[in-house]
Symmetry: C2
Amino acid sequence: MKKNASQSAYLHAYESIRDKVLNGEIAGGTKLVEEKLAKDLGVSRTPIREAIRKLEQEDLIQDKRVVLPTEKDLREIFQVRILLEGFAARASATYMSEEAIEELQKCVDIGRNGTTEEIMKANKAFHEIILDTNNNKVMIKIMDRMQSIIYLFRKTVVYHKRPHLIDEHEQICNAIRNRNPEEAEELMKKHLEADLAFFLHFMGQD
Amino acid sequence: MKKNASQSAYLHAYESIRDKVLNGEIAGGTKLVEEKLAKDLGVSRTPIREAIRKLEQEDLIQDKRVVLPTEKDLREIFQVRILLEGFAARASATYMSEEAIEELQKCVDIGRNGTTEEIMKANKAFHEIILDTNNNKVMIKIMDRMQSIIYLFRKTVVYHKRPHLIDEHEQICNAIRNRNPEEAEELMKKHLEADLAFFLHFMGQD
DNA sequence: TCAATATTTTTTGTATACAATTTATATAAT
DNA sequence: ATTATATAAATTGTATACAAAAAATATTGA
């Protein structure tokens, strides 16, 4: 009866649906029908429902439809990101360990020499290291929930090779290494504002 | 078959369980057993499960147990609150309408003359008016999710009649009326820090 | 033709059954 | 008595059935 899958049907469904949304296999605006998804994944509706609820919490789905984030949505997410990550950058200048700073530097290096796939990962890690330094589970959870939508966004930015992105990371890294909280926060805010502006630029074109 | 309740079983279950947790009817640390809750509320396990999932998202439940927030949890929540509400207070000084400022003043007045129940509501409204002024759905949702735990906290503060609480609200209201963003933000941060300190004081005693 | 209403179909919400898992309890061996 | 192992009980995860609600389609009257 139970599939030989190593994980629960619910988790499998959650990840599967999320991935399909993130890589565009399920287009924005699509209505998700429980029975159809259940059939596709070879499970019953029960785990599908739970997966959908979770995705709704992450705002990737809104009443059974895959979201199509508007410009306003993005601005709102970034307003929050700027507050939280700006704060985290400031704290990092005071609290980050030398080892973590090395990790951060590695992310910058990969940003210069890695493959697109590697760069994606490194950019995510860069922001995560800074956030984790502040050691606030609530904050981490909030950022985690926004991650899916941010992922959609980050893909575009890296794919289109935004100018100065890695330079900005390096500047932030240096400000942290030099233990300059004000500068670290300011640079992080500028960095995120530039990210947002760049993305909105591409949104307008499609 | 269907109860004559005006709302869905799921919503009824959600609200019912949440309220029982908030008013202490279900003590912190209690393991929630689906079947028991289902029997109590006269529904099946299905809507109970959904309700529990939602409450888990709000951090009121963590793997089937009612949370017992630690001091660290509270500090973390307030670190976020201070960032978001501080920002909202600053924005309010610039954008809040005269009518909304009147509403804010009313909350202060009720804080001075109302019943405990009325004061609770007015204090909640005070913070909501400021947050709503910034008109950021993402922020509102984040605060909403923390609301349950904040409620547990606010009850204590009002019940014990924290000194200066309403004075601080009035100061914030005045800073907004005087269109002074810096001061509004600073006062809000101080206000929330005082709230936190007061609550931690009582936590230590029990 | 078009709007209004009825009818059918699809989809969701809820209850229930049962298997899988976890947790508690009892039994045996040292 | 204490640990190890077996057994039983409780609890959760999943599948399925069916009723309620929502959405789509057809039908009627102007």
